[in-house]
Amino acid sequence: MSADADTTATATMTGGVVFRVGDAQFFLPATIAAKVLPMPGVARVPGAPVDLVGVALVEGEMVPVVAIGELDGRGSRRPPPTQRSRADNRPMLVCTYLGERVGLVGLEIVATGFFEATDPEHVEHGGAPAPLFDVGEVVARLREGRWAV
């Protein structure tokens, strides 16, 4: 889990974002989670790892977009095609890790703010524990791929 995640308030309260991937709930501290954006237009990267959806232009910067869950799964909250509007409102969580930005998709944002930390690796939200999400592992997996970003 992220060793860089730091608590932003007291020892028992941690600021950040709780999100859901499938049935599992995770937490990212506000120092890593930068902002939540609607899914931008993504350029596919031929031969890229399956998890790498592509690259997108976010605030003038090319950012790799990584699927951490099913894009059309329940967690993505993507409406069925008949109810889908022109805009893609699936959320993309933009994270900053070791100076690099990465966009996470295939998730459902549950809440932002301060959450009670049960231990350094977990916070609690809605009566359920949310472990810290390991962004480092995602970035490392991308770096290991032939098409490193």
């Binding site: 600021g15 509007s85 959320p91 703010g113």
Partner: protein, 258 residues
């Protein structure tokens, strides 16, 4: 009924005489001819009525078709408006979704600011997110309802199309009935002409014969009631002034030359 002229009377009596002898050509009595003319008249009236009824039906169907067309136009207009509204609701849902993301980002920003400072921002963020979620759900429900209305309107349009087709078929059938009635009317006129030539009578004469026959029957019945009660000489003397001209006419004494 106007009193018959002398000519009519003579013609009537000629027919009565012929009726009493039965026709040598076809064996039909004047009474049968009268019944035939009556049937012909009834048929002519019925055919004329059916033709007029068919035209009235065609007229009503044309009006109904106009109403159905107007209704279909309105249904299509409402369907188009529902489609526009559905698109608008889609945009509203998008806006609420973006607002929800703004609220989430406000909460995240508050988390970066520190617990104390971010409390108010967090409250506002939560409230905005809750309201945008409610708005988004309400908009989706409205959008779904509109889609259902649109679907219903499609069915209404389909029903109206079927009604229009049925009206067109009824109009065709009415036109066919009207044409057939016109044919039947012409045929009946032809039958009337041929009947007139064949029998030498016409509907008015036939009707007069029927009435005269009724009167004659009544006279015979009245004489029957007198039989045996009143001396025959008295009856003959009383009726002779009236019956003698009748008897002469029936014997053909007043036949005009040629």
């Amino acid at each position: 009924m106007s009193p018959p002229s002398d000519n009519s009377k003579r013609r009537l009596f000629r027919l009565l005489r012929r009726g009493s002898r039965t026709s040598p050509t076809n064996g039909r009595s004047a009474i049968e001819e009268s019944a035939l003319w009556a049937a012909h008249q009834r048929a002519a009236t019925a055919v004329r009525d059916s033709g007029e009824a068919a035209q009235r039906i065609a007229s009503h169907v044309a009006k109904q078709r106009g109403t159905v067309d107007a209704l279909a136009d309105r249904a299509r207009a409402v369907s188009a408006r529902a489609q526009d509204l559905s698109t608008s609701f889609g945009r509203i849902v998008d806006s609420f979704a973006r607002l929800e993301l703004v609220a989430l980002n406000a909460g995240l920003e508050g988390a970066r600011m520190g617990e104390g400072a971010s409390q108010a921002l967090g409250l506002v963020s939560d409230e905005v997110r809750a309201q945008s979620t409610r708005g988004s759900e309400a908009s989706r429900e409205l959008s779904t309802t509109l889609a259902e209305i649109g679907s219903e309107l499609l069915q209404v349009n389909a029903s109206l199309d079927r009604t229009r087709e049925a009206a067109a078929e009824v109009a065709q059938e009415a036109a066919r009935v009207s044409g057939a009635s016109a044919d039947a009317e012409r045929a009946l006129v032809d039958i009337g002409d041929r009947l007139r030539k064949a029998t030498g009578s016409d509907p008015e004469t036939a009707r007069a014969i029927a009435e005269a026959t009724d009167h004659a029957r009544a006279l015979v019945a009245a004489l029957g009631t007198l039989s045996g009660k009143v001396p025959q000489t008295l009856v003959v003397s009383a009726l002779r002034p009236v019956l003698e001209p009748l008897a002469r006419m029936l014997d053909g004494e007043d036949d005009e030359p040629g």
